[in-house]
Subunit: 155 residues, 2 copies
Amino acid sequence: MTRAIQDTYPESLAWCYGCGRLNERGHHIRTVWDGDETVAIFTPEPWHIAVPGFVYGGVLASLVDCHSTGTAAAAAYRAARRAPGSEPALRFVTASLQVNYLKPTPLGVPLTIRARVTEIKDRKVVVESTVYAEGIATVTGKVVAVQIPDNFGQR
Amino acid sequence: MTRAIQDTYPESLAWCYGCGRLNERGHHIRTVWDGDETVAIFTPEPWHIAVPGFVYGGVLASLVDCHSTGTAAAAAYRAARRAPGSEPALRFVTASLQVNYLKPTPLGVPLTIRARVTEIKDRKVVVESTVYAEGIATVTGKVVAVQIPDNFGQR
């Protein structure tokens, strides 16, 4: 299996419910490069339903979210010409998340999400993405990701 | 316990991972009126983490999503001067979801989300919301909800 961006996160940042490899109950969303785009393949569980037969929007939002912050991290390493995962870690959090539900997403098939960086500047990366089910685009997303600030979590 | 909007959904529409009372693995988000606003209280599980100590953004997006579609349904019944849950069911899906993460949301405390309808017209309802942790606003959301079309799920 190709190494994903999330596989390179340091252990302290690998607990995310959406994409943390160490979160046993999480979704384990995994992002890899495909040329200038990134791609993740994710199959929702049978209980991830909105109405029977279709995927819950919150899970689709999670897919957009983690694939985009993963893409932001990967792009930041590329921009810095650094090896993914090298210290100090470039890890991003979501400042804003926009999800458009174009049509119902069928449950029971693998979903493919493809993303592209549309802006990268200082500590901010903008990522736009599309989710496909059986080749049909069902969701688009836009995430503004910011590098985790040194004072993260202080109030 | 006060009856929630989601308690009135017909059984066929009560399986949502975010708010369906019949989804045993779901979040069971419950929306009630408080004057002209709606409120839901939700305590994330210990594994719903972004980085240790803080709530995962995808779960916060789910909270915004289901509380807003629930609010849309409740508002549509009010606007129609009909009893909540009366047939034919007024049930909404999300057309678009916008979530702004103002600051990290601490894990381990009950979250309160309050929402208000800012537009209601024909089959469309716009809902704006704020999530609070320990009285501090950490997330704002905006959802465009549309009444489930008769041809939902046809492609």
